[in-house]
């Protein structure tokens, strides 16, 4: 027969072909971990050798041991913890404020074109400005306290969150919107049941990217005008010529952002279970 519809045989074949090989995946992941660890150890070894043999003067680069000792000191006195805490508080205040403004605004702009038309010009004008350019104005308006740091983080973050949110909202599959309407969804139900969950993965990955940007904003702000925080530690250490402390501050930033990122990832998996086991 010529007129014949595609049967289920193809689908069954696909399912067999996609059967996973867990042990191989496990082995690869292990190997990846070991290789990464080895590469870090090799780097530390070369660094150690270069400083111990005097190839690089300690004026330009302290030895790993000196950095480790300085890290131990600042941990003992609690200085490092206080700095991490101070910076984190500023990041979270600015970041959550930015998300609280930009996510609803972005969804609105994604579903209702007049809102987008009204706000778009400001987005285009503000987007090219690095957060550091807001420092003079924010100091003038808010002084050099916590509010000013929060404002810098806010100004550096909200536009990215907005752009990600608009894009993810607009990219919700129109077929699913049709389906929901066809099943009798009202505007409110459509928003709650389809647009928000459909845009959520995109919004969350936007928030994750922006979190790292927020961190770089706070460090910049702290380097210019602050008594506390990781940025302030680095800047003060530079003034005192304490190079190990500069490196401790830098490592502190890396580790803190990594931890924040991991937490964000965990939260993401919790919030969107339907993407959890989907192959990426």
């Amino acid at each position: 027969m010529v007129v014949k519809s595609s049967g289920g045989a193809q689908i069954a074949a696909l399912e067999v072909a996609a059967a996973p090989r867990p042990w191989r995946e496990w082995l690869r992941r292990r190997t990846r971990l070991v290789l990464g660890l080895l590469s870090v150890l090799a780097f530390l070894g070369i660094w150690n050798l270069a400083t111990a043999r005097g190839w690089i003067s300690p004026v330009f680069l302290p030895s790993p041991a000196a950095v480790a000792a300085e890290a131990g000191n600042t941990l003992d006195t609690g200085e490092l913890w206080r700095a991490v805490l101070a910076s984190s508080e500023r990041v979270f205040a600015g970041f959550f404020l930015a998300a609280a403004v930009a996510v609803p605004l972005g969804v609105l702009m994604g579903v209702w074109w007049p809102a987008k038309a009204i706000i778009d010009p400001f987005v285009s004008l503000l987007r090219p400005l690095p957060s550091i350019t807001w420092i003079p104005l924010t100091i003038l308006w808010l002084g050099i306290g916590e509010a000013q740091k929060t404002a810098i983080v806010f100004m550096g973050s909200w536009i990215y969150i907005l752009i990600y949110t608009i894009e993810s909202t607009k990219r919700v599959d129109p077929l699913l919107i049709r389906a929901a309407r066809n099943l009798g969804a009202t505007d409110v139900a459509l928003m709650r049941e389809v647009i928000l969950p459909g845009a959520l993965p995109g919004i969350l990955s936007g928030l994750k990217v922006t979190l790292a940007i927020s961190w770089s904003c706070v460090i910049t702000a702290e380097m210019v005008a602050a008594q506390t925080g990781l940025g302030a530690i680095i800047w003060r250490a530079k003034d005192w010529g304490n190079l190990p402390l500069v490196l401790v501050g830098m490592a502190g930033i890396s580790v803190t952002v990594l931890v924040a990122d991991t937490l964000a990832e965990l939260l993401e998996r919790l919030l969107i279970p339907w993407e959890r086991r989907r192959p990426r």
């Binding site: 519809s5 689908i11 077929l175 049709r178 389906a179 009798g184 969804a185 049941e193 459909g198 959520l200």
Partner: protein, 271 residues
């Protein structure tokens, strides 16, 4: 006999603007009355505009010319009274099987217990008991297709628009689903508009079979299928069945040849 047309297409044409700027006429001057409570099958070559016609009935797209009436009133927006079973499933990926099937009742304001009960009935009907908590990506194509069917049925529309709903099923599951659908149709007296490529399927299910011409789609012929109901697979052995089948086949064959001819021409012209 005075019967009411529940759905009526009056001189419906639909053109698409293609990306290259050229126009494409999917449907041309198509008129069709669909009677209340009947089971109508649409048959036609691939690309002749079947999905387009169904989308117009559902109010997803507007015809370029002509109009479509539902119980005598023009369809102006998306029409929940015409429930669609999508060719490409269109399941909500963030909802489980149960969440998807509960969607229609939920939109109608059914309470938690009530919609769960309705959903369970249709999940059982499409033989997906035990998969209620799965997400669509965890299901095979054929299972997803059955969820779409259950979702549309649970929403209880007046007209069921079904776009090749059994295409991804194996022969056995397909037969079971056909029997279930016939049972539902008999019990509920719902109007069903059913697209298929499969003449046997049309003969088992339909009261009337509409053969569409190759693109642009028009009604080429309408055949009344008065094989006795309730029907069973064994009906395929009757001489009446064979006669109807060969009659449909002659209508379809011409169109398929024309369609293949046109594609060959297009391929030669394009290359």
């Amino acid at each position: 006999m005075e019967r009411q047309a529940i759905l009526r297409a009056e001189g419906v044409s639909k053109g698409y603007l293609e990306a290259r700027g050229a126009g494409l006429v999917a449907l041309e001057d198509l008129s069709l009355d669909i009677w209340e409570g009947e089971f109508l099958c649409l048959i036609g070559a691939s690309g002749c505009g079947k999905t387009t016609l169904l989308n117009i009935f559902a109010g997803f797209i507007e015809p370029t010319r002509g109009r479509v009436l539902l119980r005598g009133k023009p369809i102006l927006g998306i029409e929940p009274r015409c429930g669609m079973v999508f060719q490409s499933y269109a399941l909500f990926p963030w909802k489980t099987v149960r969440g998807n099937v509960e969607f229609g009742p939920k939109m109608k304001g059914a309470g938690r217990a009530e919609r769960r009960q309705i959903a369970q009935r249709y999940i059982d009907m499409v033989k997906l008991r035990g998969f209620e908590g799965r997400y669509p990506y965890e299901l095979s194509g054929g299972m997803q297709q059955r969820v779409t069917l259950a979702r549309a049925l649970a929403a209880d529309p007046e007209v069921l628009l079904m776009d090749e709903p059994f295409a991804a099923l194996d022969a056995m599951t397909r037969q079971v689903m056909q029997e279930e659908l016939l049972r539902i149709h008999e019990e509920s007296q719902k109007t069903v508009v059913f697209i298929t490529h499969n003449i046997d399927e049309a003969l088992i299910l339909a009261d009337r079979i509409v053969v569409l011409s190759a693109r642009p789609g028009r009604v080429k012929s309408i055949l009344t299928n008065d094989l006795p109901r309730p029907r069973h697979v064994t009906i395929q052995l009757s001489p009446e069945y064979a006669r109807l089948k060969s009659e449909i086949w002659t209508h379809v064959e011409e169109e398929v040849h024309q369609h293949l001819e046109a594609s060959r021409y297009a391929a030669a012209g394009g290359g």
